[in-house]
Symmetry: C2
């Protein structure tokens, strides 16, 4: 699959952070020649050290020739993407240029305003990331199995789209094409509004006594996990996609206002119905999120097994599951307070649950019915 | 541990839903005699069938004698707890009575208003639950390792507190004592406000095109998981704890209003600082949530391993981890779109991460650096 990309010549990656260095690692692993350029000499050197590509700066300093790239991946912070893509298109008139920023319309508009050659530009958004950033956190498999959205402009040459599609596919991503506006509306709802809600919620915990927080269960942990994200990056994302985010936040505010009024008079007329509607609407929205593998939401059957929190115990459990030939569809570990014992909740095909329970019990596992 | 409870005579459980039936299963397993009473004959019969206790209704119909309980656990829906506890205290003048509702002040006040004998009443809140409800979902280990808060009234006899503490401990829970008001303030923030935020967020997804939702990552799944909760139950919880929830929701609304104003003019003066503050405040709140085992937040080291999504593959991985003698502190499976390959993120003691990486790579695992 990578042969085509490799045959088409070297890839220049501008910005050696988490995404840029991960693209480099993935391509290098496939035998593609990659070069790194970063405003930070340190990031560029680290990127080269971990094997994401050759340092352009070091090569030029050593008087070596850097080959002309056929593809340029701009992976800078979002607020300098337009400028960087425009420069790259100008400096390398044969190269196809893509970027990996998570908001696409403003970039396309900015490039059009500057008169950039949009025939050779394809906006892209690999929907992969980590709570950590920088080249040290990079990994070649970052994009494996993840969605990667391509947003071609009306002016974009189909050959450019094909090249960027190959890049994403070579890195193991699942490619989708959307108009830039539609992409931005989608990520506002599935990524940016969740980030805002998680941050608003976690912000409330700043003054909570620690002995109250010690009572917290998985619900609080799940709802606040992404609140650990990087403020610097998110300022840029929220700014760039403000137009798509605001309507949803207005919707949230209307629902919140209604709920506050209801809770200020919780025995008033219609109060219980208002509360029930809020929760039921949440049920309805949540149920629409597809399961893994991009399929339709599917009800798996669960079983829960008590596991000693000791080295190897989970391994023994999953070996036992593996011996049955039944595929484990999902797994949750329940975190516990005080005791070193855990609960492993296993999801499997509903038609094979009973068989698995029996097999595990025969092997001495304590399955919770 | 359970000998004391068993020696003190039978336990009557009123309400054979998830919590009541789970209490029954756990106690029966310890050899304690339990009886079930439920307004629904079906629920009472199912509870008895799964082994949570003897059906009081069936025993009385057969002309048998039901022994006087020494302890009564009221596990009815929250809106009938006051009435049920008051009746139980009146009908069984020797029994200690507890309930398992998740809001405590209103119940204590309601009982005091009715002139109930608070010396024998101890409010309690086992902080365990599932997204599913009813006796079929019950499990004796539901409370194992989970927090269980006791809220004694000023009038409560210390012997009554001791008895209910034994119950919780026998069921494997980790017991904390709090004043009812303090408990309600704590759960408002760690449980009820997160539920509201998750429901408000998930509600936005009702009209989102499915092909947008198919791009969703783990962030959206985590933040909306608890939005699947039962509306009927949550109406009662939100009503009962409205007073403690509203101040936090006012705080959320102020932050949300500020953010909406900022996003409506994202290039205005101070806009970037406002956005950065929101995310940074979320960082600060999130970082205060303790890790598992109730300890202080601890930074584990992560490593990520590529795992074929086939039966037994996770088992082989965890067997390999187990052989190293290094304890697995946490585990996340990254759900993936389209491809049947997964990423397992393993958390371990930072001092042993390198050793584990080496050991796994020697065994042929693909560890992402």
């Amino acid at each position: 699959m990578a042969a085509e990309t490799a045959a088409e010549g070297p890839v220049l990656i501008i910005g050696a952070g988490l995404l840029g260095a991960s693209v480099g690692l993935g391509l290098r692993h496939l035998g593609v020649s990659t070069w790194l350029r970063d405003a930070s000499p340190t990031a560029e050197a680290i990127g080269a050290d971990i094997g994401a590509g050759s340092s352009e700066r070091l090569a030029l300093a050593a008087g070596e020739t850097v080959p002309e790239p056929s593809l340029i991946v701009v992976a800078t912070p979002p607020d300098v993407v337009v400028e960087t893509v425009a420069q790259a298109l100008g400096e390398h008139p044969q190269a196809i240029v893509t970027d990996v920023a998570s908001v696409k319309s403003a970039i396309q508009e900015g490039l059009r305003t500057r008169g950039a050659d949009l025939r050779r530009y394809v906006g892209s958004h690999p929907m992969a990331g980590r709570e950590r950033s920088g080249p040290v956190a990079a990994r070649g498999e970052l994009f494996t199995t993840m969605p990667w959205v391509l947003c071609a402009a009306p002016e974009t040459d189909p050959a450019a789209v094909k090249r960027v599609r190959s890049l994403a596919q070579d890195l193991g991503a699942h490619v989708t094409e959307l108009e830039a506006d539609e992409h931005d509306a989608a990520v506002a709802l599935i990524s940016h509004v969740p980030q805002v809600m998680s941050s608003l919620l976690a912000s409330r915990l700043q003054d909570t006594p620690l002995h109250h927080l010690s009572l917290a269960g998985q619900g609080l942990r799940d709802t606040t996990r992404i609140a650990a994200s990087d403020p610097g990056l998110w300022v840029q994302i929220l700014s760039a996609n403000a137009e798509s985010i605001v309507p949803s936040l207005h919707g949230v505010r209307e629902d919140l206002d209604r709920l506050i009024s209801t809770l200020e008079d919780p025995t008033g007329p219609g109060a219980r119905l208002d509360m029930a509607e809020l929760i039921a609407e949440g049920n309805a929205g949540q149920a629409r999120i597809p399961g893994k593998h991009g399929g339709a939401p599917k009800a798996f059957a669960q079983l829960t097994v008590l596991v000693d929190d000791k080295p190897g115990k989970l391994g023994e459990l999953f070996s036992a599951v593996g011996e049955t030939g039944i595929n484990l569809e999902d797994l949750r570990l329940e975190h516990s307070l005080g005791r070193r014992v855990g609960l492993a909740e296993i999801s499997v095909d509903p038609n094979r649950r009973d068989e698995l329970v029996e097999a595990l019990e025969q092997r001495g596992w304590k399955v919770v019915q």
